[in-house]
């Protein structure tokens, strides 16, 4: 039985070349439900994914950011790093509030989805953005920011992260933002979090995961330029694997055109290091280098 991934097909011809970050954004954009509310992490891939969806697929999706922008029509592109508390990002919003506005609206159940970048995720969907390693190898990261609230309060949380062994770990070094915690039934409720909320999907540049009924990460789809073995080799632990894996389509020309010319023309987010993929009309292949 194939799992319904909730992915609409992309519009337009398949693109001939793109990088994996672009592919990841397009995949998330195709998941966005029309007429639903999104609390998107301020800037980067989550915001580009929602903006792409609104333009191409889900014109009635609305988003807020943690500075209390409600349903803007942003003036694109953003100035570098200026994705919140900025006049372009908040342009033609329906309302302007503050961080407590965003927190309260999500706490009330008004936010259907949260979309987040994360540094590290574990088998129960817990998120680390605080610190990794110990002693000389210790690295300090910036903390949860708005992610703790997004992951706790939105009805469904979509994570975006890279498909790398150090990012898919059995147990995160630090739970900055909650997934299913220890994975036991009712663990979130026992921690005071609202019932019915929690992790929904993880999307990497080449794979998609959902969660089993016992709240464990499950690989459900992969990009055509990778094998399941390649993906699983980039997990520190072995996640559950769906009986039948779906296939993630590559980006379309329409999507890439929008992303490259309007959303992120400076390549702030999408030009960063990630593999390039070539599509020859029949198959996808990862380019050398």
């Amino acid at each position: 039985m194939t799992i319904d991934l909730g992915l609409r097909p992309g519009t337009g011809a398949r693109a001939a070349s793109f990088n994996e970050r672009e592919a990841q954004i397009c995949t998330v954009a195709r998941m966005v439900e029309d007429g639903k509310t999104y609390w998107v992490a301020g800037g980067g891939s989550p915001m580009y994914a929602v903006l792409m969806a609104i333009r191409l697929y889900a014109p009635g999706a609305q988003y807020i950011t943690e500075d209390g922008v409600i349903a803007p029509e942003p003036m694109l592109p953003f100035e570098p790093v200026m994705t919140m508390v900025s006049s372009r990002a908040g342009y033609r919003a329906l309302a302007w509030g503050t961080m407590n506005t965003a927190g309260n609206h999500a706490q009330l159940g008004l936010m259907d989805y949260g979309i987040l970048n994360t540094l590290q995720v574990d088998q129960y969907g817990n998120i680390n953005s605080t610190r990794t390693g110990k002693g000389e190898a210790a690295r300090r990261f910036g903390g949860p920011g708005g992610a703790d609230s997004i992951a706790a309060l939105c009805w469904r949380t979509v994570l975006m992260t890279d498909q790398e062994k150090r990012k898919f770990v059995e147990r995160v070094d630090f739970i900055s933002s909650p997934g299913f915690l220890d994975g036991s039934e009712g663990a979130r409720e026992r921690a005071g979090l609202p019932s019915g909320t929690g992790p929904f999907r993880v999307v990497t540049p080449c794979a998609m995961y959902d969660y089993t009924e016992s709240r464990r990460l499950r690989l459900v789809a992969i990009a055509p330029w990778v094998t399941a073995e390649q993906v699983l080799a980039e997990c520190e632990f072995t996640p559950v694997v769906a009986d039948q894996l779906g296939t993630l389509d590559g980006p379309t020309e329409d999507e890439l055109n929008l992303l490259r010319t309007e959303l992120d023309p400076r390549g702030q987010n999408t030009a960063e290091r990630s593999a390039w993929i070539i599509y020859d009309g029949e198959k996808y292949e990862r380019a050398a280098g």
């Binding site: 919140m84 503050t98 961080m99 910036g142 909650p178 005071g192």
Partner: protein, 323 residues
């Protein structure tokens, strides 16, 4: 109402009655001009050892001029509220100002890696919203506020929060301790000389920070007449009686942007990132802060009128900003 779990970390003492007494004795209810220089404001109202909150950040309508002044005056042993911050936490840490940090979010980099590893800064773990909620509790004169997030995280263990049995539903609920900082630094678009201040666009917790803090310094792009404040009282974001100092600071958010006034200065932004990515904040301070009497002197010497004029021209959006 049992306590089910509680964080083990130090947190700023919760004392609503003590804060009330401070407010009674120190907050001036008269309409007296509080206009002063950034130097005087920081000199009078930011002390070594203070708990300091700033609103927004070094890049996004934040009190960048005031933060530079804090570094210039070499404040030490500051306990910093690091919510919705950016490079500012790194700049203050790298300049030796900070000894404790409540983390919501900051931009990481070598400066923070090294400071945390060396134990120069003790970090307590929260989230952005939990920190703004703590400020809201402080701004309401309460000892705590409940919150439906934060429970179950490892941050909770390293915080001052408690998980209790809600006496109304019988279910677990997290309580976040109120935060009443010693001093708040807030940059706004407009203020009168008394501190009736207007923020345009979105914000983080400017009102909460102002009401929750013992000492409040406002820096403003424009000083406007009180008559103008009275013409549109719905635009007042912060009332004068919460404010201790008003600093006229054009380009006070540089190199960041200030909605309706100027765009961000990309080279200036990148340079600040670079300083904390490479742990060379002293060099950054030597270029932009320490040699100068104040920001105006720095702008004259380093940035120049032409570049500032370009930043003003780059801000083409006015709808919703200014009155």
């Amino acid at each position: 109402m049992r306590i089910l779990a509680e964080g083990a970390a130090e947190y700023l003492k919760v004392d609503p009655d003590g804060f009330r007494a401070w407010v009674r004795d120190h907050k001036d209810r008269t309409l007296t001009s509080k206009l002063m220089s950034a130097r005087d404001a920081v000199s009078r109202f930011v002390a070594d050892g203070d708990y300091l909150v700033f609103d927004c950040n070094y890049f996004q309508r934040g009190p960048s001029t005031l933060l530079r002044e804090v570094i210039r005056q070499k404040r030490r042993d500051i306990w910093l509220c690091g919510k919705f911050s950016y490079v500012d936490v790194g700049l203050l840490v790298g300049a030796g100002v900070v000894s404790k940090l409540d983390c919501g979010f900051f931009w990481p980099g070598a400066t923070l890696d090294n400071a945390a590893r060396d134990g120069r800064v003790e970090v307590f773990e929260y989230s952005n919203v939990v920190m703004t909620l703590r400020l809201q509790a402080g701004a309401m004169g309460l000892p705590f506020l409940p919150v439906r997030s934060f429970g179950g995280t490892d941050g909770f263990e390293r915080s001052g929060a408690k998980l209790v049995e809600d006496p109304f539903t019988g279910r677990p609920i997290t309580l976040a301790p109120a935060l009443n900082p010693d001093v708040a630094l807030i940059h706004v678009q407009q203020s009168d000389v008394y501190g009736n201040a207007r923020v345009f666009g979105t914000g983080i917790a400017h009102q909460e920070s102002a009401l929750a803090s013992k000492k409040v310094i406002i820096s403003a792009e424009e000083i406007i007449d009180t008559a103008e404040i009275r013409r549109d009282p719905g635009r007042t974001s912060i009332p004068y009686y919460a404010v201790d100092a008003v600093v006229h600071a054009p380009f006070g958010a540089w190199p960041g942007n200030c909605g309706g006034y100027y765009g961000s200065d990309t080279p200036g932004v990148i340079e600040a990132f670079g300083a904390i990515a490479r742990d060379v904040v002293p060099a950054y301070a030597d270029k932009y802060i320490t040699p100068f009497e104040d920001d105006q002197a720095m702008f004259n010497a380093i940035v120049g009128d032409e570049r500032l004029a370009k930043l003003r021209a780059a801000e083409t959006i006015s709808e919703g900003y200014r009155a």
